[in-house]
Subunit: 155 residues, 2 copies
């Protein structure tokens, strides 16, 4: 099964969080799991807040790209279109909110689970929760906006 | 002039965003500028959203650590204490919100300017704005909470 991000057009695959072409980046991969979406990510040892715990900025980044990926997949699903059909749906982040519920351990694979709260016009609102060992440690919301057609076209 | 982060205790200097001891991290440096705080940061070429623009997750990370650093400095200032006096004030992020106002170019030094909105008990609320070439491209709010005394003590 291909991840959402593997359907992104080549010129939009440079994102530090989710671009398959960014060799320095996180290259997250997101999939459907019923009506939810799932990303699994193992932090690097240096992604620390304080030793033993994951940096909150990384969690914000994961929630961000999980959110825009989920938004695209949700739009394809709503329109009954395959993710490799054109024109491609791609989203930018209008706003990002994260509540840090408790410290997130760093030595485990984190699971980010997304839920679509709203689809309205070119806007999709995604709620995403970060789990470590099955415990919710952060909860975020991404307001994703469909990208203008010419965004990133120069690449 | 030393940056706020240079006063962090050694065991709390491992943060990926702002820890002087994290050689893989962003190592941001924040200073007072009157009643505002300022961080300047030049993204790496691979910190891309789409080519030519800065990744929003990086901006969230910069706002996050700028916010916790500003919170600590504000608390020292309110109590009339030098930043190298003990016990050290250090903050964790309770919540983070970012509104992305427009695409942020990647090939410039970004300026993050912070303003203290509220100090109440162990909580400090910081508003932070990201400027590129003098234009505000993102605006965030960090609710910073004073760290429990034993946080990170194991390091």
């Amino acid at each position: 099964m291909k991840a959402f991000q593997e359907y992104y057009p080549d010129n939009l695959s440079h994102c530090y969080g989710c671009g398959a072409n960014n060799e320095h980046g996180h290259r997250i991969k997101t999939y459907w799991d019923g009506d939810e979406t799932v990303t699994r990510f193992t932090p690097e040892p240096y992604h620390t807040a304080v030793p033993g715990y994951t940096y909150g900025g990384l969690l914000a980044s994961l929630i961000d790209c999980h959110g825009t990926g989920t938004a695209a997949a949700a739009m394809y699903r709503q329109e009954g279109r395959a993710m490799d059909s054109l024109p491609a749906f791609r989203f930018v982040t209008g706003s990002l909110h994260v509540d840090y519920l408790k410290p997130t351990p760093i030595d485990v694979t984190l699971e980010i689970r997304g839920r679509i709260k709203e689809i309205k016009g070119r806007k999709v609102v995604v709620e995403a929760t970060v789990y470590a060992n099955g415990v919710a440690t952060a909860r975020g919301e991404v307001v994703a906006i469909q990208m203008p057609d010419n965004f990133g076209a120069a690449a």
